[in-house]
Symmetry: C2
Amino acid sequence: MELSDRKTKILEAIIKNYLETGEPVGSRTISKYEDMNLSSATIRNEMSDLEEMGYILQPHTSAGRIPSDKGYRFYVDRMMADREKEVSDMHEMVVQKADQLSELLKQVARLLASNTNYAAMISAPQIHRNKLKFIQLSKVEENTILAVIVVEGNILKNKMISTDQPLDDDTILKLNLLLNTHLNGLSLEEINLGLITLMKEQAGIHSDVVGSVIDAVADAIRADENLEIYTSGANNIFKYPELADNSKASEIINVLEEKNQLSELVSDSLSKLNEGEESQGHGIQVYIGSESPFDSMKDCSVVTATYELEEGMRGMMSIIGPKRMDYLKVAKTLKTLQEQLDTLYKKKEE
Amino acid sequence: MELSDRKTKILEAIIKNYLETGEPVGSRTISKYEDMNLSSATIRNEMSDLEEMGYILQPHTSAGRIPSDKGYRFYVDRMMADREKEVSDMHEMVVQKADQLSELLKQVARLLASNTNYAAMISAPQIHRNKLKFIQLSKVEENTILAVIVVEGNILKNKMISTDQPLDDDTILKLNLLLNTHLNGLSLEEINLGLITLMKEQAGIHSDVVGSVIDAVADAIRADENLEIYTSGANNIFKYPELADNSKASEIINVLEEKNQLSELVSDSLSKLNEGEESQGHGIQVYIGSESPFDSMKDCSVVTATYELEEGMRGMMSIIGPKRMDYLKVAKTLKTLQEQLDTLYKKKEE
DNA sequence: ATTAGCACTCGATTTTAATGAGTGCTAACA
DNA sequence: TGTTAGCACTCATTAAAATCGAGTGCTAAT
């Protein structure tokens, strides 16, 4: 069967109404719309077709219709297409510059949640081009030295290293030189066993220090493993009765708190974006119900967007809410913040 | 009225039963206990007295009795007193050493939550004796230098500083020397305006760099402001019907997620502990219902314990659950982890 | 092709009744 | 005088029944 213009119009009306009310919508309701000069009976017939086509469904016999995942998908795709419709009732939403990256991210998460009334999360940016830039050893205590490792993108890693014997300043200077001359500018792959052995040899009795430093370097470069994620507005889900029931709420809260599933989502979303699926504009992805990469979100929709803070430093933010979320507003909010983060970066550049 | 032995026994029986069932307990139930050779009528009379004295209350006429906050308090104090009763059915609860402090804390939070079936939180340790130990400037890029600041207790703070003109290695060395000779060993109070001005003068055209570094030092020393807190097991609250109702759950989840109230709790609890109120053994504090420092926890009990990771690095962990929580087990669990963290520290020392 | 009309369905809400755990009080008892 | 059996009463909870009404599908008329 074809999706006629009229069917489209009716489907859209159903979804819009359901988004607002959260209640199944009946034929009568639709027929009362001004620009819909049809009787409820006609609407019923069309609805019956739409149901057969899989766009809507009945929670039970003799109830109104609600959108199916397919129906939502139709709506979202359509909405994304004509995005010229600007939503203008945006809250004040200004990202303050923060000297701590973590503070900035927390702030953004909070903004997202409070503006949308859904739950929000944001991941710290992941680095892509991970080359070692710089190593600095310094003596902190008699038997303790501090290694500071700087990776491209100015990501830092600190490590305290205890030594058997006290090291004098001169030795530290030498080790510093040794490490920097050998390792600077290298990526993880380029630091091979041969190189490590060579350096250990040259370090003589201090080879254990070199070993520790190299471990720290490895940690610093693949920092994405312990991907930091910040969330906000988890309690917003209680505003939507369809999510507020105990077992569902518990599951969602758990996902938001334990974060490990979220980090999968981040990887998934980032990699999809990198594959160049930018067709849907500005890298905004929508997962509706069962489209989500994991089960625990099957009653929710997740809208994700990437952001780029500095060259190559990409992170992801997302909104988690009921399927009947206000997709338009959410997309708009995400986009606004995307732009703001972008601007913030540019300012920094100057 | 006096709390006779018999009243005490009955009160304890009521509370114990309520902790298990979560239901109001009636006179008949108590009278059936083997070691309680009294008829339900007698129990009723005693209960009536206990209610008058404020230890128990009726949710409504003709319902059984439940403990009041005062009743819980009585029970907890008593329980804390004879703590020789060891609970032995502890889960495997071994803290793995982690090189990242944050990983360690997350792990502990998770252990607490999974062992108790309540929500858990832990704060990163706060430093008390905050003296500057060491500053290291290094050049990272042409116009960027990195300042690493080490404070007593080996807390680190990094800051990237952009400069107007490029700095040569020699200048950096000089600034390093300048900063370290003047500032080492000083606390926040001791770094006064006079000293700062003096240093800026000596730095000549590079006074702005000195300024930036001093800012970073200030940040590092009062690091307690952005006190990190980790939570786990928030969804456990759904296991207790009296907390699982939407508005209450929402409030609790919110507190756990937004953390700022928790950090007040941390300060409160740490300062109380520092005042030497160690009478209740091992620094374990119990807040029952309205005893809690904030309203949002009025339906919960909060049990807190401090831990000490290294000399002077004290943090706080706590369990948040229903008033009818298993106080004994919770106290035991906290104590076990306290000890483990302690051991971990000692191992590190060797 | 559209629509008015009508019987029918079924979740939700309200009403009513039944249940039973628990109380307070009184009078009898040791 | 403290303890207890007995009884009338209360009231949340549960179950069952009745009612409501939004919504449907189908049919016959336009």
